[in-house]
C-alpha cells in the first residue's frame, strides 16, 4: 500500500504554525495555575509541594506531573527566571507566554509520536482510515481549544494514553502498555476513570491464560504487579516516607465540590438539572412542591452543592454506583471477548459512563471519550454513526470555555472546518457494516447536527442582541442541554453497536 498523504509530521508542522500564531490569544486561569506550579516545584523542596497554598491554585495533580513541571522549570529558568518566583502571582511577561505556550506545543510531540505508532500498528486497508483518524486527533478542536488557547497539557497526556492503548495491540507489549498507563495515572488522575477497562483487559489477556480463565500466569502477574508498584513507588514513595499521602489525596480528590461544575458538562446531570428547571415553571400547574431554598442556587449553578427545586437531590454515592454499573456492563463483555477493538470500545464506554454519571465532571473530560472513540470510529459505518453526534456535541460543548470575542471566530470556524473535513473524509473511509444499520438513528443524527447551526448562532449572536447581559445562563444551559442529548444519544448508539457486533 502506498504511503498516504498528508503525513502526520506535515500536519503537525502546519498545526504548530497555527498554534504559534495563537500565542497572544485568550488564556484562562489555568495558565496561571501552571505558572504557579512551575514556581512551586522550582522554588520549594519536594516536601512542601503539596502543602504550599499561598496561591489559590494549589498543586492538585499527582507527583509525576509535578516532576514534569520541575523539569520544565529547569528550561524556564533560561526564558524568564521571574516566572519561577513564588508569590509572583498572575505574572505573564511575553517570555512567560512564549515559554509556556511553546512547552505545550513541544510536549504535544508525544501525541504525534503515539499517533504515528497507531498508524504503523494498523495494516492493510484500514491503514488509510487509521491515518485519517490519527490526523483527526492531532488536529482535534478539543485539544486546540483546551490546550492551545485555554491552556493545559492534554496533548502530551493523551499522547501517553494513545501510546499505551497501541501497545496493548500486540501481546509482546502488553506489559509495557500497563506500565505506561500506570505512569499516566501518576501524572493525571482523571485517567482513573479508564482504569477498570485496563484492569479487566490486562487481567484477562496478560494475567490469565488465553486458553482458560482458570489458569493464572503467575510470572506475568508478578511482572505487572511489581512494575506498577515500582511506578507508584517512584511517584508517591518520597511523599509516603514523610507521611504526606493523606494530604496529597485531599488535594487530588476534593470531594467538597458540587454535582455539576460551574458550567454544566453535557452529561446526564445536565439533563436532570434542565428538567428540574423546566419543572420549576410547570410545578405549580401539575401540583408538585418546589423547595424554596433551592431556587436561589438553581439560577446560578456555581461550584458548590447543586440543589434541585423539584426533583430529588443526587448524592455522590448514587453517582458512583451509576458510574460503576455502566462501566461494568462493557467490562463483562471485554472479559469474555478480550480483543483489542473490544478493549478500545470498553475504554470508550468507561469514559462515557464516568463522563455521564460522575460527580462534578468537567466539560474538558469529554476528550476522555472522543479520543479513544476516534481510534475505532472508522471500524465500520455503524461505529461512525455513533461517533458523529459525539463529535458535534463534544466539541460544541467546549465553546463556553472561550467566551472572548477575539477567539469566537477561531473556535467556531476551526470546529466547523474540522467537522466538515473529517466527517466527510470518515464517510468515505468507513467500510460498510455487515449488519444492517438503524435507519432512524442516522436520520436523528443528521437532524441533530443540523440543529447545532441555529444553536451556535443563538448562543453567540442572537442572545446578546435580544437580551444583552441578562439571562446569561440561558445560552450556557441550551448549549449544555443540547450537547448532553448528543453525548447521551451517541452513548446509547455506541452501546447498541458494540453489543450487537
Amino acid at each position: 500500500m502506498a504511503e498516504t498523504y498528508p503525513s502526520l509530521a506535515q500536519c503537525a508542522i502546519v498545526a504548530a504554525a497555527f498554534k504559534i500564531l495563537l500565542f497572544p490569544a485568550y488564556k484562562s486561569t489555568d495558565f496561571e495555575v501552571h505558572r504557579n506550579w512551575l514556581a512551586i516545584t522550582h522554588s520549594l523542596p519536594l516536601w512542601d509541594w503539596y502543602y504550599e497554598k499561598s496561591s489559590e491554585w494549589t498543586l492538585d495533580y499527582p507527583p509525576f506531573f509535578a516532576y514534569f513541571e520541575w523539569i520544565m522549570s529547569q528550561v524556564a529558568k533560561l526564558a524568564d527566571p521571574a516566572m519561577l518566583r513564588m508569590y509572583n502571582l498572575e505574572y505573564d511577561s511575553w517570555q512567560t507566554v512564549y515559554f509556556q505556550r511553546l512547552s505545550v506545543i513541544a510536549t504535544e510531540l508525544v501525541l504525534v509520536y503515539a499517533l504515528q505508532m497507531f498508524v504503523d500498528s494498523s495494516h492493510g486497508t484500514s491503514k488509510r482510515a487509521a491515518q485519517a483518524a490519527a490526523i483527526s486527533i492531532l488536529l482535534s478542536p478539543g485539544l486546540l481549544i483546551i490546550d492551545h488557547i485555554h491552556f493545559q497539557y492534554n496533548g502530551c497526556m493523551y499522547g501517553i494514553l494513545i501510546a499505551s492503548l497501541v501497545l496493548a495491540r500486540k501481546r509482546s507489549t502488553l506489559l509495557l502498555s500497563g506500565l505506561v498507563f500506570g505512569a499516566l495515572l501518576c501524572m493525571k488522575h482523571i485517567y482513573l476513570y479508564l482504569a477498570p477497562a485496563y484492569f479487566v483487559f490486562l487481567l484477562r489477556t496478560y494475567c490469565l491464560s488465553p486458553k482458560s480463565i482458570f489458569r493464572i500466569q503467575f510470572l506475568n502477574c508478578l511482572k505487572l504487579g511489581g512494575g506498577i508498584a515500582a511506578i507508584f513507588g517512584t511517584a508517591f514513595g518520597p511523599f509516603a516516607l514523610k507521611g504526606q499521602i493523606p494530604q496529597i489525596l485531599s488535594r487530588l480528590f476534593p470531594f467538597s465540590r458540587g454535582l455539576c461544575h460551574a458550567y454544566w458538562a453535557p452529561n446526564v446531570w445536565a439533563m436532570y438539572s434542565f428538567i428540574d428547571r423546566v419543572l420549576i415553571v410547570l410545578a405549580p400547574r401539575i401540583g408538585l412542591s418546589v423547595k424554596a431554598g433551592a431556587l436561589q442556587s438553581v439560577t446560578r449553578g456555581l461550584v458548590g452543592d447543586t440543589a434541585f427545586a423539584v426533583l430529588p437531590d443526587i448524592t455522590p454515592r448514587l453517582c458512583f454506583a451509576l458510574t460503576l454499573l455502566f462501566q461494568a456492563i462493557p467490562l463483562v463483555r471485554l472479559f469474555l471477548v478480550p480483543t483489542w477493538d473490544n478493549f478500545i470500545g470498553a475504554v470508550t464506554l468507561c469514559g462515557y459512563a464516568s463522563f455521564l454519571f460522575s460527580w462534578h465532571v468537567h466539560e474538558k473530560a469529554i476528550l476522555l471519550v472522543i479520543i479513544p472513540f476516534s481510534l475505532i470510529a472508522l471500524k465500520d459505518r455503524r461505529y461512525l454513526g455513533a461517533f458523529r453526534p459525539l463529535a458535534v456535541a463534544g466539541h460544541v460543548s467546549l465553546f463556553p470555555l472561550l467566551f472572548t470575542p477575539a477567539e469566537f471566530p477561531i473556535k467556531t470556524i476551526y470546529t466547523v472546518f474540522w467537522l466538515v473535513l473529517f466527517l466527510m473524509a470518515f464517510d468515505q473511509l468507513a467500510p460498510a457494516s455487515r449488519r444492517a444499520r438503524f435507519f432512524l438513528f442516522d436520520r436523528f443524527s443528521t437532524l441533530y447536527i443540523t440543529v447545532s447551526i441555529p444553536l451556535i448562532l443563538y448562543c453567540s449572536l442572537v442572545h446578546g442582541v435580544v437580551f444583552g447581559k441578562s439571562y446569561e445562563f440561558l445560552p450556557l444551559m441550551f448549549t449544555s442541554s443540547y450537547s448532553a442529548i448528543g453525548v447521551v444519544g451517541s452513548w446509547l448508539g455506541f452501546m447498541v453497536v458494540s453489543f450487537t457486533s
Binding site: S7, Q10, I13, I20, L21, I413
Partner: protein, 591 residues
C-alpha cells in the same frame, strides 16, 4: 463581481487534454505522479479526483480565514506608540472623520493628524465601516475624543472589517481568476486548487493587511477582478473594476499601463472602434460615478452653508495645484467649491511635493543612494530621472502586451510593469511590493505554474518581499508572525530554507538550473545571515541603519532579478522572438 464563468464543471475534460498537451501538470511531467512534490500538494492529496471543488473550496476558505484571524491576534502598526500611532490609527481616524464630518470637509480636515490621502472609494469604505462600528460602540469613532484609541474590542472590529472586505472582494476575485486562468492554461482543477491555497496563503498580504493593518487586498481584489474580466473577454467590466481599484488606492496606477495596453491592443488587433469607444465611455462614466458622492455632497454642503474649511473663517486659500487655473476661474461661481474639492483630493492623493523616496525601501533609488548621495541633486532632475527610468522599464512589457494582447500573458505583463514602477518610480513605499507580488503570485495558477521553475521564482520574490518588510514589521514587534507565516508558506511550497525541491528539475539545461539555484541560494543564504547578524550584532554607532541599508540593497538587487525574469518569461511566452532564438533561451524560463 463578474458573473461566474460559463461552465464550472468542465475541468475534468480539460484535465485529460492537458495530459497529452505540452502544458504538463504540476505533479511532474507524468500525469500519474505517485507522490506529491511539495507539502501543499500532500495536504490536498486526498482530494484528488473524487472530491469536488465545491467541497474543497469552503475548506480552503476556512483555513485561509483562520490563519488570517489568528495572525490578527498580534499587534498592529502603531499599537501604543504615541504621538501619531500608525496605519491602524490612520484607517480608524478616517472612519472617525467620514462618519462625523460633512463630506466636503473630508479632504481638508486637520491634515496633520492622518489627513485623508486616499481616493474617494477608500473614504466611502471608511464611512461604511465607521457607520457599522458606531452602531456597536459610538465611542470608537467619536470625533476628536477617539484619537489613538486602542481598546481590544475596537481592534477586533477593525480586524473584522479587513477580513470581511477581503472576503467580499479579494477572495472571490482570486477564486474566479484561478478558475479561469487555470482552465485557459489547461491546468486540472485539483492543481488549480493547490495554486489557490498558495495564492491565498501568500505571507506578504496577510502580514501587511491582517497584521500590520491596511486594506490593500480591496484594491488588489479589484485589480484581480479586472484581470479575470479580461480573461473572460468582458472588457467593459474590466475597465469598471480597474476604476474601482484606482478609486480605492492610487497605487493601482502601477498596473494602469498594462490595463491600458491590453485593452488598447484588444481594440487594435483587429481594429474594433466601437469597443474602444465603449471602454473609454465606461471608464469615464465609472470615474464620474466614483466622484459623484463627493461632488453632490460638496454642492449640498455649500447650499446648506457648510464651509469645507471652517478653520480658515471664510478666507479662500489658492488651489494647492494648478495655481494658474484659479486665475481663469471665478472663485464665486457655483462650481468653484467642486473644483476646489477635486483639486484638493488630487493634491492629497498624489503628494508631488515629497522626496524621491520616503523611508528605506528596496528600490533602485534607495539602493543607489547608498553609493551616491542623491539628495545633493536638484529634485527636479531626480524626478525627471525617475520618470525616465520608470518609463524605460515599463515600455517593453507593455509594448509586448499591446502587440500581443493574449490572455495568458496578462499576469506576467502586470508583474513586469509593477516591478518597473516599484523599482524605478517616485515615492515608493516598502509595502508597495505587494503590487508586483500579486500578479507574479497569480502565475502559480497557470500552466507550469507549480512546476519547479515558476515556483522557485515566485517563491523567491515573495520571500524576498517579506524580508524587505521585516524592518517595518519589527518596529512593531511582529517578528513572530513574520517568521511563522513566511516559513509556513516556504514550507508549503517546498522552498528554501525548508527544502530545495524547487530546484534541479530534470529535463532542462544544467546551466540554467545551476544559475537559478546559485542566484537564489546566495540570496537565501544572505537573508539567513542577515537575520543572524541583525539579531546578534548592534550596528556601529556611526552607521545605525546598517542592517536596513543592507536589506534595501539586497532587496533591490533581488527584485531587479525578478523584474528581469518576468520580462524574460514574457518575451518568451509572447512568441515575438524567432523560434531559433527562443529555444536557445528556453533554459531561462520554460523548465
Amino acid at each position: 463581481m463578474a458573473g461566474p464563468s460559463p461552465s464550472p464543471h468542465k475541468p475534468r475534460r480539460k484535465a485529460k487534454r492537458a495530459v497529452n498537451g505540452e502544458s504538463s501538470l504540476s505533479t511532474g511531467r507524468q500525469p500519474s505522479a505517485r507522490t506529491p512534490s511539495f507539502p501543499l500538494e500532500s495536504f490536498l492529496w486526498p482530494a484528488r479526483g473524487s472530491v469536488s471543488q465545491w467541497e474543497l473550496l469552503p475548506l480552503i476558505l476556512m483555513v485561509a480565514g483562520l490563519f488570517r484571524w489568528a495572525a490578527g491576534l498580534w499587534g498592529y502598526s502603531g499599537f501604543e506608540k504615541p504621538p501619531l500611532f500608525g496605519d491602524y490609527e490612520a484607517q480608524r481616524h478616517w472612519m472617525e472623520i467620514t462618519t462625523n464630518l460633512p463630506i466636503s470637509q473630508w479632504y481638508f480636515h486637520d491634515l496633520q493628524w492622518w489627513g485623508l490621502d486616499y481616493p474617494p472609494l477608500t473614504a466611502y469604505h471608511s464611512w461604511l465601516c465607521g457607520k457599522i462600528g458606531s452602531l456597536i460602540d459610538p465611542s470608537w469613532f467619536a470625533l476628536y475624543a477617539s484619537r489613538g484609541l486602542h481598546s481590544p474590542a475596537l481592534k477586533i472590529f477593525m480586524r473584522a472589517t479587513v477580513v470581511v472586505s477581503e472576503y467580499l472582494i479579494y477572495v472571490p476575485a482570486v477564486v474566479v481568476f484561478v478558475r479561469r486562468f487555470s482552465r485557459l492554461s489547461g491546468v486540472p482543477t485539483w492543481t488549480a486548487s493547490v495554486a489557490l491555497v498558495a495564492i491565498l496563503m501568500q505571507p506578504a498580504t496577510i502580514l501587511i493587511d491582517h497584521v500590520h493593518f491596511q486594506y490593500n487586498t480591496v484594491m488588489l481584489g479589484f485589480v484581480v477582478s479586472s484581470i479575470s474580466s479580461m480573461l473572460a473577454g468582458r472588457y467593459l467590466w474590466s475597465a469598471v473594476f480597474f476604476v474601482g481599484a484606482l478609486g480605492f488606492k492610487q497605487m493601482a496606477l502601477y498596473y494602469a499601463f498594462s490595463v491600458f495596453a491590453y485593452l488598447l491592443g484588444r481594440c487594435a488587433f483587429p481594429v474594433n472602434i466601437p469597443r474602444l469607444v465603449a471602454v473609454g465611455a465606461v471608464t469615464a462614466v465609472s470615474f464620474a460615478i466614483l466622484l459623484l458622492p463627493l461632488i453632490v455632497g460638496t454642492l449640498n454642503d455649500v447650499r446648506r452653508g457648510i464651509d469645507a474649511r471652517p478653520d480658515l473663517k471664510g478666507h479662500r486659500p489658492p488651489l494647492p495645484l494648478f495655481a494658474d487655473l484659479a486665475g481663469n476661474l471665478d472663485t464665486g461661481a457655483f462650481y468653484y467649491p467642486v473644483v476646489e474639492q477635486l483639486v484638493q483630493m488630487v493634491h492629497r492623493v498624489f503628494p508631488f511635493a515629497r522626496g524621491l523616496f520616503e523611508d528605506k525601501v528596496a528600490n533602485f533609488w534607495c539602493a543607489l543612494n547608498v553609493v551616491v548621495k542623491l539628495r545633493k541633486y536638484p529634485s527636479n532632475l531626480l524626478q525627471r530621472g525617475a520618470l525616465f527610468a520608470t518609463f524605460a522599464s515599463i515600455v517593453p512589457p507593455n509594448l509586448i502586451l499591446f502587440f500581443r494582447p493574449r490572455k495568458l500573458l496578462l499576469p506576467l505583463a502586470f508583474a513586469t510593469t509593477a516591478w518597473g514602477f516599484f523599482l524605478f518610480s517616485y515615492q515608493v513605499h516598502e509595502k508597495s511590493v505587494l503590487l508586483p507580488l500579486m500578479p507574479m503570485t497569480l502565475l502559480l495558477a497557470g500552466g507550469q505554474g507549480l512546476g519547479k521553475n515558476t515556483r522557485a521564482w515566485v517563491g523567491f520574490a515573495n520571500i524576498l518581499g517579506c524580508w524587505t518588510m521585516f524592518p517595518l514589521l519589527q518596529r512593531v514587534d511582529l517578528k513572530v508572525p513574520y517568521t511563522v507565516l513566511t516559513l509556513l508558506w516556504a514550507y508549503l511550497l517546498g522552498l528554501p530554507p525548508t527544502s530545495l525541491s524547487a530546484y534541479f528539475q530534470e529535463g532542462s539545461s544544467i546551466w540554467s538550473q545551476w544559475a537559478t539555484a546559485f542566484i537564489h541560494g546566495s540570496f537565501y543564504l544572505a537573508i539567513a545571515l542577515w537575520h543572524v547578524f541583525e539579531a546578534a550584532v548592534t550596528p556601529p554607532p556611526d552607521k545605525p541603519d546598517l542592517w536596513v541599508v543592507i536589506n534595501v540593497g539586497l532587496g533591490a538587487g533581488g527584485f531587479f532579478l525578478c523584474y528581469l525574469w518576468c520580462l524574460g518569461s514574457l518575451v518568451l511566452e509572447s512568441g515575438i522572438l524567432p523560434k531559433s532564438w527562443g529555444s536557445k533561451r528556453d533554459k531561462t524560463k520554460m523548465q
